[in-house]
Amino acid sequence: AQSVAQPEDQVNVAEGNPLTVKCTYSVSGNPYLFWYVQYPNRGLQFLLKYITGDNLVKGSYGFEAEFNKSQTSFHLKKPSALVSDSALYFCAVRVRSATDKLIFGTGTRLQVFP
């Protein structure tokens, strides 16, 4: 079955420290991978995507993600966390099918402490 997993329900990090939010996937064929962020009482915002090409993808708000085919991972990273980065983060994979649907991971809550 095609799926995406976020093994951590919550990640805590001190402001100024690097952060990593983990994501692994299981799909047939080449994956299209996405990260989204959801702030409290706000909509889902696109952060970045991997379709093809360079394994290191840079996105919004200083975030980046590294596609690792051998480990089937697409971890989200940021060199220096901000308190304002505290939010719910979702990894997603596009399933190539008749409907080309997007499947989401369970989400990881990032808490950045001052």
Partner: protein, 112 residues
């Protein structure tokens, strides 16, 4: 890019009633997607709506409960029928274009 609007933004409904959610996109798209996000949970795909054909429903979702209309390439509606408190969720409309998936602001539904 695509800009998506949804109506209503929120509603409180009594059990047993139905609510129709509207989704409008600022450009023509082939497929529109409807997702549900239950409190504290991730997003679950309800169905995919193609213009001019029946919607494709995911496992666990049926047309009688969540009928969908797709009259043209920029508009869709999702109806939540015979509501129960378990239907209390955020319902999101989404489109895929230029390798990116865009989401509407969501409709926050509370069923009492």
């Amino acid at each position: 890019s695509a800009v998506i609007s949804q109506k209503p933004s929120r509603d409180i409904c009594q059990r047993g009633t139905s609510l129709t959610i509207q989704c409008q996109v600022d450009s023509q798209v082939t497929m529109m997607f409807w997702y549900r996000q239950q409190p504290g949970q991730s997003l679950t795909l309800i169905a995919t709506a193609n213009q001019g054909s029946e919607a494709t429903y995911e496992s666990g979702f049926v047309i009688d409960k969540f009928p969908i209309s797709r009259p043209n390439l920029t508009f869709s509606t999702l109806t939540v029928s015979n509501m129960s408190p378990e239907d209390s969720s955020i319902y999101l409309c989404s489109v895929f274009t230029a390798y990116e998936q865009y989401f509407g602001p969501g409709t926050r539904l509370t069923v009492t």
